[in-house]
Amino acid sequence: MKRSRRQFLKVASLSVAGLGAQLAAGGMTKAAAAVKPSYKEDALALKAKRWAMVIDTREFASKEDFDACINACNHAHNIPNIPGKSEIKWIWKDAYEHTFTETKNKYQSKEIEDREYFMLCNHCENPPCVRVCPTQATYKLENGIVAMDYHRCIGCRFCMAGCPFGARSFNFTDPRPYIKDINPKFPTRMIGVVEKCNFCVERLDEGKLPACVEAAPGKIHFGDLSDPESEVRKLLEENYTLRRKPALGTEPGVFYII
């Protein structure tokens, strides 16, 4: 009895030691190999230090003007059409008083009051959603885009409580049955995760402008906010613009020409 136990311990300790050595050796060879990312950037990729959007709200009058952008985005990103209060939306339109809650004015010009405005993720410089996410499923890219990893998100919705712009949606149900025409170039999402506008980071990587910008030529402008020569900077210089809830200090990256 005693001998057999001793034998067992011997064999067990030897095998543990062997396994450990193997793991250590494996780790070393891995470390020794040159770390080269397998990902290669597309030569056409559009680059910026800080992507930003300028929406010329004067140019959006009819339902068709808005729908062109919304549909382009919905199709590009496989956004389901779920009716009711658990809808998913990346870009949508709403009234002045709901968009610019801090600059309401009873005696506003009727034309401005009646106009509708786009809302989408602001890709803030100090994004509260990134600050609160417990798994870094939401993070800021070097180019200023606030991105999301749908496969890491645990669905705690802390980011939704944190976002003061209501830009995020949660998949309360399985979204796939609600997607009419699936775009195979972009992943669909699963039940239980949060999603939002990604400034078309996947299109920028291929050298294309965001889908909504492409769908509204001359109405929505997109460019590098850090470059004084960029189109967006020139537009900001020449026009009076608003941002949503600037007092909160999140520094939104979406500007509205009024």
């Binding site: 509260p128 417990p134 309360f172 200090g249």
Partner: protein
């Protein structure tokens, strides 16, 4: 000591079976939620936290409140609490387990729960919340078990337990502070964006927790035939009364700041909760008024010493207090936080039946844990002659 769980009266077993039934219903409903998603709840795009997170918030307070027994007993050597301290610690264990379960059922992707540990994120308050909850659970389990064991063998507890107890005192304050920080650091949620939220949480916890403990002890002492001790009840009710006064005072501070400053964002949530909207009164308004009336009534019965020390009145006062604080934190806080949406529209929310069944199941788990832990404590104490 675990063997005490297995030896009980038929009543005890029937109670556990009843709780088992409630838990079963909760589990089955949760399986549906797992399959069909959180769409089964009343939550929506604008109100993204609901009944689950509200219960979590309230129960962290109940857990933290054990410190109201531990602090006087171990810091100030107040002997009268020594007998009942274990009940507070064991109730805290049940409460923390419920907190954790409420967090899990609120997740869209619970199978990825461990991502919080795999990708530790120190800038997220939820990361700290996980740490403090697990820590508090361990502290109470170790301290409770060890002190009870020493009581059983009639020896003094080892010195290292004392250091754990001191740690648990600070820890109790930290768990509820961190819970408040989950909400109070969010820009754009006016009802929560207030420095006094953590203080309000602590005040409400330190009255609601001991009140609930005392109520439960009053029931159990009849079943198990023991005395809580007159002095202990007297002191604990004074603690409860002061904490409730502070709680109500802090809330009134909020009301003053909102309405005297006349800032719409600050007034909106309170207006919604107590006076509804142009479209009428939401369901929560009725609850809020019941809560307000119960809060005042409980204070009216607790502040005068003659009423407070009347054992016939006391359970009613405590019951109203527990309900009032629960309405404030377990309903009003979350609904008020989300009611004015980021678009300054009124976002509505009401829990659904599946949501309530799952919550009931979790309360069943808590009651089950507290029942068997208290059973152990009572039996051990009776054997040792310390009850």
């Amino acid at each position: 000591m675990l063997e005490k769980v297995l030896k009980g009266s038929p009543k005890y077993y029937m109670w556990l079976a009843f709780l088992g039934g409630i838990i079963g219903v909760g589990v089955i409903t949760y399986l549906f939620q797992l399959k069909y998603g959180l769409g089964l709840t009343g939550m929506n795009r604008d109100v993204t936290w609901g009944f689950y997170i509200a219960q979590f918030t309230y129960l962290v307070g109940i857990a933290a409140s054990a410190v109201m027994l531990v602090l006087p007993a171990y810091f100030h050597g107040y002997k009268h609490f020594k007998k009942i301290i274990i009940f507070g610690e064991f109730m805290a264990i049940g409460a923390v387990v419920m907190c954790m379960l409420f967090i899990v059922v609120d997740m869209g992707m619970p199978q990825r729960m461990l991502n919080v540990m795999l990708h530790p994120t120190p800038n997220s308050v939820m990361f700290y919340d996980m740490l403090v909850l697990i820590g508090y659970l361990c502290l109470n389990a170790i301290i409770g078990w060890k002190t009870l064991e020493c009581e059983r063998f009639q020896v003094a507890y080892p010195n290292w337990v004392k250091y754990l107890i001191y740690t648990s005192v600070i820890w109790a304050f930290s768990i509820h502070t961190v819970t408040a920080f989950l909400s109070q650091g969010l820009p754009g949620r006016h009802y929560w964006l207030t420095a006094i939220l953590a203080a309000r949480f602590l005040a409400s916890a330190f009255c609601a927790g001991p009140a609930l403990l005392l109520l439960l002890l009053m029931v159990v002492k009849k079943l198990a035939k023991f005395e809580i001790g007159k002095e202990a009840i007297k002191t604990l009710t004074i603690i409860i009364t002061y904490a409730m006064c502070i709680n109500v005072f802090f809330f009134l501070c909020e009301v003053f700041t909102a309405f005297y400053s006349n800032i719409p964002g600050h007034m909106h949530p309170l207006h919604y909760l107590f006076a509804g909207t142009e479209q009428g009164l939401p369901w929560v308004t009725y609850w809020m008024w019941i809560g307000a009336i119960f809060a005042i009534a409980s204070l009216a019965l607790l502040i005068p010493t003659s009423l407070r020390e009347n054992m016939k009145i006391l359970p009613w006062a405590l019951g109203m207090l527990v309900l009032a604080t629960w309405i404030d934190k377990g309903l009003g806080l979350i609904v008020g936080g989300f009611a004015p949406s980021p678009f300054e529209t009124w976002a509505t929310y009401a829990p659904t039946v599946p949501e309530l069944l799952i919550s009931l199941g979790i309360f069943g788990v808590g009651a089950f844990i507290v029942s068997i832990l208290w059973k152990i404590a009572i039996d051990v104490k009776k054997e040792a002659g310390t009850l």
